[in-house]
Point group: none
Chain length 216, copies 2
DNA sequence: TCAAAAATAGGGCAGATGTCGTATTCTTTA
DNA sequence: TAAAGAATACGACATCTGCCCTATTTTTGA
Protein backbone atom coordinates (compact mmCIF):
# COMPACT_ATOMS: atom_id res chain seq x y z
CA UNK A 1 0.00 0.00 0.00
CA UNK A 2 1.15 3.48 -0.84
CA UNK A 3 -0.10 6.49 1.07
CA UNK A 4 0.11 10.08 -0.10
CA UNK A 5 1.07 12.52 2.58
CA UNK A 6 1.05 16.30 2.94
CA UNK A 7 2.68 18.35 5.65
CA UNK A 8 1.42 21.59 7.20
CA UNK A 9 4.23 23.24 9.12
CA UNK A 10 5.48 26.82 9.09
CA UNK A 11 8.95 26.03 10.36
CA UNK A 12 11.07 24.86 7.44
CA UNK A 13 13.56 23.07 9.64
CA UNK A 14 10.89 20.98 11.33
CA UNK A 15 9.12 20.34 8.04
CA UNK A 16 12.34 19.00 6.59
CA UNK A 17 12.85 16.81 9.62
CA UNK A 18 9.44 15.26 8.99
CA UNK A 19 10.16 14.78 5.29
CA UNK A 20 13.41 13.10 6.23
CA UNK A 21 11.63 10.73 8.59
CA UNK A 22 9.08 9.87 5.93
CA UNK A 23 11.83 9.20 3.42
CA UNK A 24 12.89 6.10 5.34
CA UNK A 25 9.61 4.50 4.31
CA UNK A 26 9.14 5.87 0.82
CA UNK A 27 7.72 2.61 -0.48
CA UNK A 28 4.73 3.09 1.75
CA UNK A 29 4.71 6.76 2.59
CA UNK A 30 4.86 9.15 -0.28
CA UNK A 31 5.48 12.77 0.59
CA UNK A 32 3.61 15.04 -1.83
CA UNK A 33 3.80 18.61 -0.65
CA UNK A 34 4.10 21.00 2.23
CA UNK A 35 2.04 24.04 3.21
CA UNK A 36 3.27 26.83 5.47
CA UNK A 37 -0.08 27.50 7.12
CA UNK A 38 -3.66 26.29 7.23
CA UNK A 39 -4.84 28.59 4.47
CA UNK A 40 -2.20 27.44 2.04
CA UNK A 41 -2.94 23.83 2.95
CA UNK A 42 -6.63 24.11 2.16
CA UNK A 43 -5.89 25.81 -1.14
CA UNK A 44 -3.44 23.15 -2.17
CA UNK A 45 -5.86 20.41 -1.24
CA UNK A 46 -8.46 21.93 -3.58
CA UNK A 47 -6.08 21.28 -6.46
CA UNK A 48 -4.77 17.99 -5.24
CA UNK A 49 -7.46 15.65 -4.09
CA UNK A 50 -5.39 12.53 -3.80
CA UNK A 51 -3.89 13.21 -0.38
CA UNK A 52 -4.53 10.41 2.11
CA UNK A 53 -3.09 11.91 5.27
CA UNK A 54 -1.85 15.23 6.60
CA UNK A 55 0.78 15.77 9.25
CA UNK A 56 -0.46 18.94 10.85
CA UNK A 57 1.30 21.45 13.05
CA UNK A 58 -0.93 23.29 15.48
CA UNK A 59 0.71 26.68 15.77
CA UNK A 60 0.86 28.27 12.34
CA UNK A 61 0.29 31.80 11.05
CA UNK A 62 -2.94 32.85 9.26
CA UNK A 63 -4.81 29.67 10.08
CA UNK A 64 -3.73 27.28 12.77
CA UNK A 65 -3.85 23.51 12.64
CA UNK A 66 -7.02 23.16 14.63
CA UNK A 67 -9.06 25.45 12.41
CA UNK A 68 -7.55 23.81 9.35
CA UNK A 69 -8.50 20.38 10.69
CA UNK A 70 -12.11 21.46 11.15
CA UNK A 71 -12.34 22.78 7.61
CA UNK A 72 -10.59 19.86 5.99
CA UNK A 73 -12.60 17.25 7.88
CA UNK A 74 -15.75 18.97 6.66
CA UNK A 75 -14.66 19.41 3.06
CA UNK A 76 -12.59 16.25 2.62
CA UNK A 77 -13.83 13.83 5.26
CA UNK A 78 -11.78 10.90 3.99
CA UNK A 79 -8.46 12.63 4.59
CA UNK A 80 -6.80 11.51 7.80
CA UNK A 81 -5.09 14.06 9.97
CA UNK A 82 -2.36 13.51 12.53
CA UNK A 83 -1.36 16.44 14.70
CA UNK A 84 2.38 16.84 15.13
CA UNK A 85 3.22 19.37 17.77
CA UNK A 86 5.23 20.39 20.78
CA UNK A 87 2.08 21.40 22.65
CA UNK A 88 0.70 18.66 24.79
CA UNK A 89 -1.57 20.69 27.03
CA UNK A 90 -5.14 19.63 27.54
CA UNK A 91 -6.65 22.47 25.59
CA UNK A 92 -4.76 21.69 22.40
CA UNK A 93 -5.35 17.97 22.73
CA UNK A 94 -9.04 18.33 23.34
CA UNK A 95 -9.55 20.88 20.59
CA UNK A 96 -7.61 18.77 18.13
CA UNK A 97 -9.63 15.70 18.95
CA UNK A 98 -12.90 17.55 18.79
CA UNK A 99 -11.88 18.99 15.44
CA UNK A 100 -11.65 15.44 14.20
CA UNK A 101 -7.94 14.67 14.26
CA UNK A 102 -7.10 10.98 14.00
CA UNK A 103 -3.93 11.15 15.97
CA UNK A 104 -1.67 13.27 18.05
CA UNK A 105 2.10 12.81 18.08
CA UNK A 106 4.80 14.92 19.63
CA UNK A 107 7.51 16.39 17.48
CA UNK A 108 10.19 14.31 19.09
CA UNK A 109 8.56 11.18 17.65
CA UNK A 110 11.09 8.94 15.93
CA UNK A 111 10.82 7.94 12.31
CA UNK A 112 9.57 4.52 13.38
CA UNK A 113 6.93 5.95 15.65
CA UNK A 114 5.76 8.28 12.91
CA UNK A 115 5.63 5.38 10.47
CA UNK A 116 3.65 3.18 12.83
CA UNK A 117 1.29 6.01 13.71
CA UNK A 118 0.53 6.76 10.09
CA UNK A 119 -0.15 3.11 9.30
CA UNK A 120 -2.36 2.72 12.36
CA UNK A 121 -4.43 5.70 11.28
CA UNK A 122 -4.66 4.59 7.66
CA UNK A 123 -5.95 1.22 8.87
CA UNK A 124 -8.83 2.99 10.57
CA UNK A 125 -7.37 3.32 14.02
CA UNK A 126 -5.95 6.25 15.92
CA UNK A 127 -2.50 6.99 17.23
CA UNK A 128 -1.29 8.81 20.28
CA UNK A 129 1.97 9.03 22.14
CA UNK A 130 1.59 7.47 25.60
CA UNK A 131 1.69 10.81 27.40
CA UNK A 132 -1.05 12.18 25.17
CA UNK A 133 -3.06 8.99 25.64
CA UNK A 134 -2.74 9.47 29.37
CA UNK A 135 -4.13 12.97 29.13
CA UNK A 136 -6.94 11.83 26.90
CA UNK A 137 -7.86 9.21 29.48
CA UNK A 138 -7.82 11.78 32.26
CA UNK A 139 -10.16 13.99 30.30
CA UNK A 140 -12.46 11.06 29.64
CA UNK A 141 -12.47 10.20 33.31
CA UNK A 142 -13.89 13.58 34.22
CA UNK A 143 -15.91 14.15 31.06
CA UNK A 144 -19.64 14.63 31.22
CA UNK A 145 -20.70 11.06 30.81
CA UNK A 146 -21.26 10.88 34.49
CA UNK A 147 -23.63 8.85 36.50
CA UNK A 148 -24.90 11.32 39.04
CA UNK A 149 -26.11 9.51 42.08
CA UNK A 150 -29.79 10.05 42.60
CA UNK A 151 -30.81 11.81 45.76
CA UNK A 152 -30.92 9.22 48.53
CA UNK A 153 -33.27 11.51 50.41
CA UNK A 154 -30.62 13.96 51.40
CA UNK A 155 -32.30 17.20 52.32
CA UNK A 156 -30.21 20.21 53.16
CA UNK A 157 -31.87 23.37 54.38
CA UNK A 158 -31.48 26.61 52.45
CA UNK A 159 -28.99 27.93 54.93
CA UNK A 160 -27.01 24.71 54.90
CA UNK A 161 -26.69 24.91 51.13
CA UNK A 162 -25.44 28.48 51.44
CA UNK A 163 -22.82 27.37 53.91
CA UNK A 164 -21.83 24.44 51.71
CA UNK A 165 -21.51 26.82 48.78
CA UNK A 166 -19.00 28.89 50.72
CA UNK A 167 -17.22 25.80 51.98
CA UNK A 168 -16.70 24.67 48.39
CA UNK A 169 -14.70 27.81 47.74
CA UNK A 170 -12.19 26.83 50.36
CA UNK A 171 -13.20 29.41 52.91
CA UNK A 172 -12.81 28.86 56.65
CA UNK A 173 -15.72 29.12 59.03
CA UNK A 174 -14.51 32.50 60.31
CA UNK A 175 -14.79 34.04 56.86
CA UNK A 176 -18.03 32.30 56.04
CA UNK A 177 -19.52 33.65 59.26
CA UNK A 178 -18.66 37.18 58.22
CA UNK A 179 -20.07 36.72 54.75
CA UNK A 180 -23.35 35.35 56.07
CA UNK A 181 -23.55 37.79 59.00
CA UNK A 182 -23.72 35.18 61.75
CA UNK A 183 -21.31 33.98 64.39
CA UNK A 184 -18.64 31.36 63.67
CA UNK A 185 -20.38 29.07 66.16
CA UNK A 186 -23.43 29.03 63.99
CA UNK A 187 -21.46 28.18 60.91
CA UNK A 188 -19.77 25.37 62.74
CA UNK A 189 -23.09 24.01 63.85
CA UNK A 190 -24.41 24.15 60.31
CA UNK A 191 -21.35 22.32 59.10
CA UNK A 192 -21.83 19.72 61.77
CA UNK A 193 -25.38 19.18 60.58
CA UNK A 194 -24.29 19.04 56.97
CA UNK A 195 -21.71 16.38 57.81
CA UNK A 196 -24.32 14.34 59.62
CA UNK A 197 -26.80 14.55 56.77
CA UNK A 198 -24.21 13.68 54.15
CA UNK A 199 -22.54 11.15 56.41
CA UNK A 200 -19.09 12.61 55.86
CA UNK A 201 -16.36 13.82 58.17
CA UNK A 202 -14.55 16.66 56.49
CA UNK A 203 -14.93 19.55 54.09
CA UNK A 204 -13.65 17.87 51.00
CA UNK A 205 -15.83 14.81 51.38
CA UNK A 206 -18.79 17.09 51.92
CA UNK A 207 -18.13 19.10 48.78
CA UNK A 208 -17.46 15.99 46.72
CA UNK A 209 -20.58 14.22 47.89
CA UNK A 210 -22.70 17.32 47.40
CA UNK A 211 -21.45 17.62 43.83
CA UNK A 212 -22.25 14.00 43.15
CA UNK A 213 -25.75 14.48 44.42
CA UNK A 214 -26.22 17.78 42.65
CA UNK A 215 -26.77 19.55 45.93
CA UNK A 216 -24.31 22.21 44.88
CA UNK B 1 14.33 -1.44 35.36
CA UNK B 2 12.42 -4.43 36.64
CA UNK B 3 8.65 -4.41 36.90
CA UNK B 4 6.57 -6.89 38.89
CA UNK B 5 3.46 -8.01 37.12
CA UNK B 6 0.33 -9.90 38.12
CA UNK B 7 -2.31 -11.35 35.82
CA UNK B 8 -6.04 -11.55 36.42
CA UNK B 9 -7.58 -13.96 33.93
CA UNK B 10 -9.98 -16.85 34.48
CA UNK B 11 -9.07 -18.71 31.32
CA UNK B 12 -5.90 -20.73 31.96
CA UNK B 13 -5.02 -21.00 28.31
CA UNK B 14 -5.11 -17.24 27.80
CA UNK B 15 -3.31 -16.61 31.08
CA UNK B 16 -0.50 -18.91 29.96
CA UNK B 17 -0.34 -17.12 26.64
CA UNK B 18 0.21 -13.86 28.50
CA UNK B 19 2.86 -15.40 30.74
CA UNK B 20 4.60 -16.71 27.69
CA UNK B 21 4.61 -13.29 26.09
CA UNK B 22 6.01 -11.73 29.25
CA UNK B 23 8.73 -14.37 29.42
CA UNK B 24 10.38 -12.93 26.32
CA UNK B 25 11.24 -9.87 28.41
CA UNK B 26 12.01 -11.40 31.76
CA UNK B 27 14.86 -8.98 32.35
CA UNK B 28 12.35 -6.16 32.59
CA UNK B 29 9.01 -7.81 33.17
CA UNK B 30 8.81 -10.17 36.08
CA UNK B 31 5.66 -12.25 36.25
CA UNK B 32 4.72 -12.82 39.88
CA UNK B 33 1.31 -14.47 40.08
CA UNK B 34 -2.05 -14.99 38.51
CA UNK B 35 -5.55 -14.69 39.93
CA UNK B 36 -8.62 -16.36 38.45
CA UNK B 37 -11.02 -13.57 39.30
CA UNK B 38 -11.19 -10.09 40.80
CA UNK B 39 -11.79 -11.33 44.31
CA UNK B 40 -8.77 -13.59 44.31
CA UNK B 41 -6.70 -10.79 42.82
CA UNK B 42 -7.57 -8.31 45.56
CA UNK B 43 -6.84 -10.91 48.23
CA UNK B 44 -3.47 -11.74 46.77
CA UNK B 45 -2.57 -8.09 46.52
CA UNK B 46 -3.23 -7.65 50.23
CA UNK B 47 -0.43 -10.13 50.89
CA UNK B 48 1.85 -8.97 48.14
CA UNK B 49 2.32 -5.25 48.06
CA UNK B 50 5.13 -5.10 45.57
CA UNK B 51 3.14 -5.50 42.37
CA UNK B 52 3.72 -2.68 39.88
CA UNK B 53 1.23 -3.54 37.18
CA UNK B 54 -1.72 -5.81 36.58
CA UNK B 55 -2.85 -7.28 33.29
CA UNK B 56 -6.59 -7.45 33.80
CA UNK B 57 -9.22 -9.41 31.98
CA UNK B 58 -12.67 -7.81 31.99
CA UNK B 59 -14.99 -10.80 31.98
CA UNK B 60 -14.27 -12.92 35.05
CA UNK B 61 -16.47 -14.80 37.52
CA UNK B 62 -17.23 -13.45 41.02
CA UNK B 63 -15.77 -10.04 40.41
CA UNK B 64 -15.11 -8.67 36.94
CA UNK B 65 -12.11 -6.63 35.87
CA UNK B 66 -13.88 -3.29 36.00
CA UNK B 67 -15.01 -3.69 39.59
CA UNK B 68 -11.60 -5.03 40.52
CA UNK B 69 -9.95 -2.02 38.89
CA UNK B 70 -12.10 0.37 40.90
CA UNK B 71 -11.24 -1.36 44.16
CA UNK B 72 -7.54 -1.70 43.45
CA UNK B 73 -7.18 1.90 42.27
CA UNK B 74 -8.80 2.97 45.51
CA UNK B 75 -6.82 0.72 47.80
CA UNK B 76 -3.47 0.65 45.96
CA UNK B 77 -3.43 3.79 43.86
CA UNK B 78 0.14 3.32 42.70
CA UNK B 79 -0.53 0.04 40.95
CA UNK B 80 -0.95 0.42 37.20
CA UNK B 81 -3.65 -1.54 35.43
CA UNK B 82 -3.84 -2.53 31.79
CA UNK B 83 -7.03 -4.13 30.55
CA UNK B 84 -6.49 -7.12 28.27
CA UNK B 85 -9.69 -8.19 26.61
CA UNK B 86 -11.60 -9.26 23.55
CA UNK B 87 -14.34 -6.71 24.21
CA UNK B 88 -13.80 -3.44 22.46
CA UNK B 89 -17.28 -1.99 22.69
CA UNK B 90 -17.76 1.58 23.85
CA UNK B 91 -19.37 0.59 27.12
CA UNK B 92 -16.49 -1.58 28.28
CA UNK B 93 -13.90 0.92 27.15
CA UNK B 94 -15.56 3.85 28.88
CA UNK B 95 -16.19 1.93 32.07
CA UNK B 96 -12.61 0.70 32.16
CA UNK B 97 -11.25 4.18 31.67
CA UNK B 98 -13.55 5.68 34.26
CA UNK B 99 -12.51 2.98 36.68
CA UNK B 100 -8.99 4.28 36.32
CA UNK B 101 -7.34 1.80 33.96
CA UNK B 102 -4.07 3.02 32.47
CA UNK B 103 -4.34 1.11 29.26
CA UNK B 104 -6.50 -1.07 27.10
CA UNK B 105 -5.05 -3.76 24.84
CA UNK B 106 -6.76 -6.47 22.85
CA UNK B 107 -5.93 -10.10 23.49
CA UNK B 108 -4.40 -10.54 20.08
CA UNK B 109 -1.65 -8.09 21.06
CA UNK B 110 1.78 -9.44 20.20
CA UNK B 111 4.51 -9.92 22.78
CA UNK B 112 6.21 -6.78 21.50
CA UNK B 113 3.06 -4.72 21.72
CA UNK B 114 2.42 -5.95 25.23
CA UNK B 115 5.99 -5.14 26.19
CA UNK B 116 5.83 -1.64 24.76
CA UNK B 117 2.43 -1.01 26.35
CA UNK B 118 3.63 -2.01 29.79
CA UNK B 119 6.72 0.18 29.55
CA UNK B 120 4.66 3.13 28.32
CA UNK B 121 2.34 2.80 31.28
CA UNK B 122 5.13 2.37 33.80
CA UNK B 123 6.70 5.56 32.47
CA UNK B 124 3.53 7.42 33.38
CA UNK B 125 1.79 7.29 30.03
CA UNK B 126 -1.13 5.25 28.78
CA UNK B 127 -1.38 2.60 26.12
CA UNK B 128 -4.14 1.72 23.71
CA UNK B 129 -4.37 -0.34 20.57
CA UNK B 130 -5.18 1.94 17.62
CA UNK B 131 -8.75 0.70 17.31
CA UNK B 132 -9.39 1.38 20.97
CA UNK B 133 -7.73 4.77 20.66
CA UNK B 134 -10.08 5.51 17.78
CA UNK B 135 -13.10 4.68 19.90
CA UNK B 136 -11.79 6.72 22.79
CA UNK B 137 -11.40 9.66 20.42
CA UNK B 138 -14.95 9.17 19.12
CA UNK B 139 -16.26 9.26 22.66
CA UNK B 140 -14.22 12.37 23.41
CA UNK B 141 -15.48 14.08 20.28
CA UNK B 142 -19.03 13.95 21.50
CA UNK B 143 -18.37 14.22 25.20
CA UNK B 144 -19.24 17.35 27.06
CA UNK B 145 -16.18 18.55 28.76
CA UNK B 146 -16.45 20.94 31.64
CA UNK B 147 -14.94 24.37 31.38
CA UNK B 148 -11.34 24.63 32.27
CA UNK B 149 -8.66 27.24 32.53
CA UNK B 150 -5.44 27.39 30.60
CA UNK B 151 -2.38 26.10 32.36
CA UNK B 152 -0.48 29.07 33.73
CA UNK B 153 2.72 27.07 33.74
CA UNK B 154 1.73 24.94 36.67
CA UNK B 155 3.88 21.86 36.75
CA UNK B 156 3.28 19.26 39.41
CA UNK B 157 5.58 16.30 39.71
CA UNK B 158 4.26 12.77 39.29
CA UNK B 159 4.25 12.18 43.01
CA UNK B 160 2.58 15.48 43.73
CA UNK B 161 -0.23 14.54 41.39
CA UNK B 162 -0.67 11.24 43.19
CA UNK B 163 -0.89 13.02 46.50
CA UNK B 164 -3.35 15.54 45.11
CA UNK B 165 -5.42 12.67 43.79
CA UNK B 166 -5.72 11.25 47.29
CA UNK B 167 -6.35 14.66 48.80
CA UNK B 168 -9.29 15.08 46.46
CA UNK B 169 -10.93 12.07 48.04
CA UNK B 170 -10.98 13.80 51.40
CA UNK B 171 -8.25 11.71 52.98
CA UNK B 172 -5.95 13.00 55.74
CA UNK B 173 -2.16 13.01 55.81
CA UNK B 174 -1.95 9.83 57.82
CA UNK B 175 -4.10 7.79 55.49
CA UNK B 176 -2.48 9.08 52.34
CA UNK B 177 0.93 8.26 53.77
CA UNK B 178 -0.14 4.67 54.36
CA UNK B 179 -1.60 4.32 50.90
CA UNK B 180 1.51 5.63 49.21
CA UNK B 181 3.88 3.81 51.56
CA UNK B 182 5.75 6.88 52.80
CA UNK B 183 5.81 8.79 56.04
CA UNK B 184 3.26 11.48 56.90
CA UNK B 185 6.08 14.02 56.92
CA UNK B 186 6.70 13.34 53.28
CA UNK B 187 3.05 13.74 52.39
CA UNK B 188 2.91 17.01 54.27
CA UNK B 189 5.96 18.24 52.44
CA UNK B 190 4.42 17.30 49.10
CA UNK B 191 1.26 19.13 50.02
CA UNK B 192 3.26 22.16 51.02
CA UNK B 193 4.90 22.15 47.61
CA UNK B 194 1.57 21.65 45.88
CA UNK B 195 0.11 24.65 47.71
CA UNK B 196 3.04 26.78 46.73
CA UNK B 197 2.82 25.77 43.09
CA UNK B 198 -0.92 26.28 42.92
CA UNK B 199 -0.73 29.37 45.11
CA UNK B 200 -3.45 28.14 47.44
CA UNK B 201 -3.65 27.70 51.18
CA UNK B 202 -5.87 24.74 51.92
CA UNK B 203 -7.04 21.39 50.62
CA UNK B 204 -10.25 22.50 49.02
CA UNK B 205 -8.68 25.36 47.14
CA UNK B 206 -6.02 22.99 45.91
CA UNK B 207 -8.51 20.42 44.67
CA UNK B 208 -10.72 23.06 43.06
CA UNK B 209 -7.84 24.75 41.31
CA UNK B 210 -6.40 21.45 40.17
CA UNK B 211 -9.75 20.49 38.66
CA UNK B 212 -10.03 23.78 36.86
CA UNK B 213 -6.60 23.32 35.40
CA UNK B 214 -7.12 19.65 34.65
CA UNK B 215 -4.22 18.64 36.81
CA UNK B 216 -6.43 16.04 38.34
C1' DT C 1 29.01 13.80 34.73
C1' DC C 2 27.42 17.22 37.47
C1' DA C 3 23.89 20.32 38.99
C1' DA C 4 19.04 20.60 39.60
C1' DA C 5 14.86 18.67 40.74
C1' DA C 6 12.20 15.34 43.10
C1' DA C 7 11.33 12.38 46.86
C1' DT C 8 12.11 11.25 51.28
C1' DA C 9 11.94 12.43 56.55
C1' DG C 10 11.51 14.90 60.89
C1' DG C 11 10.54 19.02 64.48
C1' DG C 12 7.76 22.77 66.07
C1' DC C 13 3.91 25.99 66.54
C1' DA C 14 -0.41 28.63 65.98
C1' DG C 15 -4.63 28.26 64.45
C1' DA C 16 -8.35 25.55 62.10
C1' DT C 17 -11.24 21.65 62.27
C1' DG C 18 -14.27 17.78 63.76
C1' DT C 19 -17.05 16.28 67.45
C1' DC C 20 -19.13 16.43 71.62
C1' DG C 21 -22.21 19.08 74.79
C1' DT C 22 -26.20 22.65 75.87
C1' DA C 23 -29.58 26.28 74.85
C1' DT C 24 -32.75 30.01 72.94
C1' DT C 25 -35.59 31.84 69.28
C1' DC C 26 -38.15 31.64 65.13
C1' DT C 27 -40.78 29.04 61.27
C1' DT C 28 -43.23 25.56 59.32
C1' DT C 29 -46.80 22.33 59.22
C1' DA C 30 -49.45 18.29 60.75
C1' DT D 1 -51.85 24.98 68.55
C1' DA D 2 -48.25 21.91 69.58
C1' DA D 3 -44.40 19.56 67.79
C1' DA D 4 -40.67 19.50 64.63
C1' DG D 5 -37.30 21.58 62.19
C1' DA D 6 -34.29 25.50 61.22
C1' DA D 7 -31.33 29.01 62.65
C1' DT D 8 -28.96 31.02 66.04
C1' DA D 9 -25.02 30.81 69.71
C1' DC D 10 -21.30 29.29 73.10
C1' DG D 11 -17.81 26.06 75.42
C1' DA D 12 -14.46 22.38 75.51
C1' DC D 13 -11.04 19.20 73.73
C1' DA D 14 -8.25 16.21 70.84
C1' DT D 15 -6.69 16.15 66.43
C1' DC D 16 -5.64 17.95 61.99
C1' DT D 17 -3.76 21.40 59.10
C1' DG D 18 -0.93 25.09 57.22
C1' DC D 19 3.44 26.86 57.49
C1' DC D 20 8.05 27.45 58.99
C1' DC D 21 12.64 25.08 59.39
C1' DT D 22 16.46 21.64 58.18
C1' DA D 23 18.44 17.59 55.87
C1' DT D 24 19.57 13.22 53.18
C1' DT D 25 18.95 10.30 49.28
C1' DT D 26 17.38 9.39 44.60
C1' DT D 27 16.37 10.59 40.04
C1' DT D 28 16.70 13.41 36.07
C1' DG D 29 18.33 16.38 32.54
C1' DA D 30 21.47 19.19 30.20
Amino acid sequence: MNYKIAIAEDNTFLANALIEKLSFFKEELQYLFRARDGKELVEKLENNQEIDLILMDIKMPNMNGIEATQIIKKRFPTIKIVMITVFDDDENILQSIQSGANGYLLKEATADELHKGILDVMKGGATMTPSIAMKALKILQTAEVPQYVENENIKLSKREKEVLEQLSKGLGYQVIAEKLFVSPSTIRKHIENIYRKLQVHNKIEAVEKARKHRLL
